[in-house]
């Protein structure tokens, strides 16, 4: 049987067909349990609402946190939460990896002609997480209306860029965590600290963080680039003292870095699993 050249359009079509078949089956299987799907959806919506409620409570005690008003922080929360929820929808189930390792399902991935990571990502699609996306999207919309934004091509570009990069950064975090799971078979607690901790951190103004947190969530796991820094640039609001206002435009650099870290972590983890040392 003729094998299309790697990178050829025919090969690309074949690859897409395989992923489409798997993902469509996941969606169908969730849709077949309607009652449970609806409950999951509502549950995810509540989790998002409670997370927003937390911020609202903080602002009922004060007008500003780190130089940000409630309207401004809604923009930060909306942007980062939407990016995170979308990443969660696509890659959140990567933290099932230890289950796949223990059940031996991961070995089955090696027997199929697709990359193991691509199979892990497409092994599930958590549609219920759409509920979370709704909370983020609503907060983002409200934030955009309440704030006095100078609507230009640049503003729209910055928002789209921030959302796309935020999505990439959070997806990369999930993959980084999965790579580390190969070493820490019961290490989900540890990796959750930066995956979910990072999500939480991204909804807060880093101007109130201590320097150590700035390094962790501004540089190592660069979630500050998902929402806070682009929003600071957008609103011309005070960012972190000593950092330039245009830093929000550097989200793609942060995203690239996060992808690099994820690729290393995943390759390293896979090498370890196959017993090639590491």
């Amino acid at each position: 049987m003729g094998e299309p050249e790697a990178g050829s359009p025919a090969r690309g079509r074949q690859t897409l067909r395989a992923y489409r078949a798997v993902v469509a089956s996941r969606a169908r299987s969730q849709a077949s349990h309607r009652a449970s799907f609806r409950m999951d959806l509502v549950g995810a919506l509540f989790v998002g609402l409670i997370e927003f409620g937390e911020i609202w409570v903080l602002y009922s005690a004060t007008d500003q946190i780190g130089g940000f008003t409630l309207a401004q922080i809604m923009l930060v929360f909306g942007l980062s939460d939407l990016a995170f929820s979308l990443a969660d929808l696509v890659a959140g189930h990567c933290d099932n990896l230890p289950v796949y390792v223990r059940a031996g399902t991961l070995d089955v991935f090696f027997l199929r002609p697709q990359p193991v990571l691509a199979q892990l990502v497409t092994s599930d699609l958590s549609l219920r997480r759409i509920g979370r996306c709704l909370v983020g999207a609503t907060s983002l919309t409200v934030g955009l209306v309440l704030n006095d934004i100078d609507w230009t091509v640049g503003t729209v570009g910055l928002l789209v860029l921030a959302l796309a990069c935020g999505f990439v950064i959070f997806t990369a975090q999930f993959v980084t965590a999965a790579g580390l799971q190969f070493f820490l078979v019961n290490g989900a607690e540890m990796t959750n600290a930066f995956v979910y901790g990072g999500r939480y951190a991204a909804t807060q103004p880093p101007s109130v963080w201590p320097r150590s947190l700035l390094v962790v969530f501004g540089v190592i796991f660069p979630v500050a680039f998902a929402a806070f820094l682009p929003v600071s640039t957008l609103l011309g609001a005070p960012g972190v003292a000593g950092l330039p206002g245009w830093l929000g435009w550097c989200a793609p650099v942060a995203a690239l870095w996060a992808v690099g870290v994820a690729a290393l972590s995943w390759r390293w983890g896979l090498r370890h699993y196959r017993g090639a040392g590491g």
Partner: protein, 320 residues
């Protein structure tokens, strides 16, 4: 062409012990300097005790595990560097781990796998129909995998592994836990696949029946080393594969030690049930039974095939 070729294949597992000195790493040699050649069209039984290194070997053949040293070539490909090309040419069934989607009907698992292996729509239809007919899966094709019986699921697993017409099929314990009828059906199917497509088979099993009916060559591994490589007849000659006749007697009797051509193995329930071993090359079950009947009244009887564990143990004893 050689379908499988290994040279000095070795796999060592290191780990920290649960107890004792945790700084010193424990070292376990799972596969030890294995030289193996399997030619196209062969059907090879790969047997050995639990922990002898069978699964580790298979994992290195298909590119899941990296060898500690030595080389391995499968279908002329490097299993690690060319894993994805190799995956299109081999089919693997791990008896203990499913490659079907547990919440989907069997039919849908097949069509996802067809997409994964880029079968054309026409090819998918034809091949699925062929497998459904040969493995008699029609009645449960629309059933979700999680609701299948073990026998049904195993047939579906084998079909899933063979959907893309692989040249080499590797089966790890394919008949474990199956009833006699399901085993028989599966074996007949595999024999037919070999006949029609020239498929090469490599299987690990604990069932001597699998080896007898499916394999023309047997490999026995012991502690990661090859202890026997030859035909089934050669194996039987080496270990003298004996059958056992188990008889239930009407009354407790003294041990039947002097039956011609048979050797008394054990008595249970004070002599009510006795086991006698005999060599099928030298005598028959009927002659042994006749000799017993002269001494005691036989109520019931059964004949037991040699246990693969016993065969392996004999080989181990002979080669040490």
């Amino acid at each position: 062409m050689n379908v499988i070729e290994t040279e000095g294949l070795t796999r060592v597992f290191t780990g920290r012990p649960e107890r004792g000195n945790r700084l010193r790493r424990s070292r376990h040699v799972a596969v030890d300097d294995l030289d193996l050649t399997v030619e196209a069209g062969e059907s090879v039984g790969y047997i050995g005790a639990n922990g002898a290194g069978k699964s580790t070997t298979i994992k290195m053949l298909v590119g899941i595990l990296v060898p500690t040293s030595g080389t391995v070539t499968t279908m002329g490909l490097h299993p690690l560097k060319q894993r994805r090309v190799l995956a299109r040419r081999i089919g693997v069934v791990f008896g203990q781990r499913s490659q079907l989607w547990w919440d989907l009907p069997v039919r849908e698992s097949f069509s996802i796998l067809a997409a994964i292996h880029s079968l054309t729509a026409a090819d998918e239809r034809a091949r699925t129909a062929e497998l459904v007919e040969m493995l008699e899966m029609g009645e449960f094709l629309a059933t979700p995998v999680r609701q299948l019986s073990l026998g049904q699921r195993m047939r579906a697993e084998v079909a899933a592994a063979l959907l893309h017409r692989p040249d080499l099929v590797i089966l790890d314990e394919p008949t474990i836990g199956l009833d006699v009828l399901s085993k028989q059906r599966l074996r007949e199917f595999l024999v037919a696949q070999r006949r029609e497509h020239g498929t090469t088979l490599l299987l690990t099993t604990h069932d001597m029946g699998d080896v007898e009916r499916l394999c023309d060559r047997v490999l026995v591994v012991d502690h990661g080393r090859l202890a026997f490589d030859g035909t089934l007849d050669g194996l039987a000659r080496t270990v003298g594969a004996r059958r056992e006749l188990v008889v239930d007697l009407a009354a407790a009797s003294p041990d039947l030690v002097d039956v011609d051509g048979a050797e008394h193995v054990r008595s249970d329930s004070g002599g009510l049930r006795q086991r006698l071993a005999f060599d099928p090359q030298r005598t028959t079950a009927a002659r042994v039974l006749a000799a017993i009947s002269e001494r005691a009244e036989v109520l019931d009887l059964s004949i037991e095939e040699p246990d693969i564990e016993d065969v392996v143990r004999e080989i181990y004893r002979a080669t040490r």
